[in-house]
Amino acid sequence: MRIKEHPILELAEKPPIPFYFNGKLLYGIEGDTIASALHANGIKKLSESIHLKRPRGFYCAIGNCASCNMVVDGEPNVRTCITPLKEGMRVENQQGKGRIHAK
């Protein structure tokens, strides 16, 4: 879902960044945040609500609302909308308050 052509913005080709989502290898590009890379891969569901386990995606995309919290490299509650994507990152859907489950 990346924009290929834009009348105003110059969208330069950027080098790919490999990362893992729930164990699966995906690619983002340089300049992506974790959430933008996932969205570009068609993944909208980032977490589940604490009590009712309802799916959650991002909402504000600027670090205000915590709706995009995920487990990143084992650390829960990472605001993926403002966290730059790095090579080899392991990103997982967060369940509830984000207990770190044993691996």
Partner: protein, 361 residues
């Protein structure tokens, strides 16, 4: 703890111009923003701005940002920029606690200027927490900063300038805007913006709102319905639109929590977007040496945010004992610019709000 002459929190149009005026007067400035890049809302505004030449009208937001950051570049080591740094707390003696990555530190400033902008309001409707329901600013960030489409078919909720312009920008990104709904009986934003999307085929539906989002793991459709005069949904008027994204543009609320934390007096003024700091003539809050400007002080435009930033910068520089060339004349001229920008029908709300706050306009 480091002591600074002036600290500006927020690198949007208001913070940038405040910093510029302080630097121009010879002061040292520490400019803090939680984002990777400076610019605030300007980083994603690909459209040309209204206003007059004095506020760079007819330039795109992203180009105005370049003009402002280029000017900042002239001041070398007088300016310290801390990006990816969030101010998380503030104490009475003008001490700020900041977080950057896993670092935590404190700064103290003789003068502190708040230009932290606003956050987007949410709208209550069934399933509004479903992935695919996004704030308009988020959609803009995704498209214009990361080059990613939020979806393929969008329902826009809200006909203020933000709803109208983000609809246009969605189309520019190759996304279909299926309809724009507005609860009020008329369009809220500039009619030139509305005509711009209407003539490209976007349905603008007033007296209409979203009833619920439909979908399992993400939005698959939206149900809209007509509203009566009391803004109550009319049973039987429901229609289902096939969309994968619902974009919510129902207004902004000033980010005043930090200010309130340190005991700055605020007042709830609906016309200005919610709780806003009470300011004196100098744009100083109830705490001496702490100033506020831009969307944080009243939800308005980048044009007025830039003018307010300049006024605050000049005032703060003067109270630091710096001499500002032609200060009185410039303040007068800047106030005149604000008056011009707020003088017409779109400024009615802000004028009314400022009056409630006791600010002369």
């Amino acid at each position: 703890m480091q002591n600074k002459e002036a600290i500006v929190i927020g690198g949007g149009p208001a913070g940038l111009t405040a910093a510029l005026e302080l630097l121009k007067a010879g002061a040292s400035v520490c400019l803090i923003d939680r984002n990777e890049r400076l610019g605030g809302q300007l980083t994603k505004q690909t459209h040309m701005f209204f206003g007059s030449e004095k506020q760079y009208a007819s330039h795109r937001g992203i180009d105005i940002l370049e003009i402002l950051t280029n000017s900042l570049g002239k001041y070398g080591n007088k300016l310290e920029i801390l990006t990816e740094t969030t101010v998380v707390g503030m104490y009475r003696d003008k001490v700020l606690s900041c977080v950057s990555g896993d670092k935590f530190f404190k700064l103290q400033g003789e003068k502190i200027i708040f230009a932290t902008g606003a956050s987007e309001k949410a709208l209550p409707f069934e399933n509004n927490d479903l992935p695919g329901v996004y704030a308009a600013g988020a959609v803009q960030t995704l498209m214009n900063e990361y080059g990613i489409k939020p979806g393929e078919k969008v329902l826009m909720v809200g006909s203020g300038n933000i709803g109208l312009i983000v609809s246009y920008q969605l189309m520019q990104a190759g996304v279909e805007v299926v309809a724009l709904v507005e609860a009020a009986d008329r369009i809220g934003g500039y009619l030139v913006h509305a005509s711009k999307i209407k003539r490209l085929g976007v349905d603008i539906l007033t007296n209409t709102s979203v009833k619920r989002a439909i979908g399992k793991d993400s939005v698959e459709a939206a149900e809209i319905w007509e509203l009566d005069e009391q803004w109550q949904g009319i049973e039987g008027s429901e229609r289902t639109l096939e969309v994968d994204t619902i974009c919510v543009a129902v207004g902004l609320a000033p980010l005043t929590e930090l200010l309130q934390q340190m005991g700055v007096n605020v007042k709830y003024v609906n016309e200005l977007g919610g709780n806003v700091p009470i300011l004196d003539e100098q744009y100083q809050t109830s705490v001496e040496g702490v100033y506020a400007c831009g969307d944080l002080a009243n939800i308005e435009e980048a044009s007025s945010a830039m003018v307010e930033g300049r006024i605050v910068g000049i005032n703060a520089a003067r109270s630091l004992g710096r001499s500002v060339e032609n200060a009185d004349f410039r303040i007068k001229a800047l106030r005149h610019e604000l008056k011009d920008l707020r003088g017409g029908p779109p400024g009615d709300k802000v004028r009314k709000g400022l009056k409630k706050l006791g600010v002369a306009t």
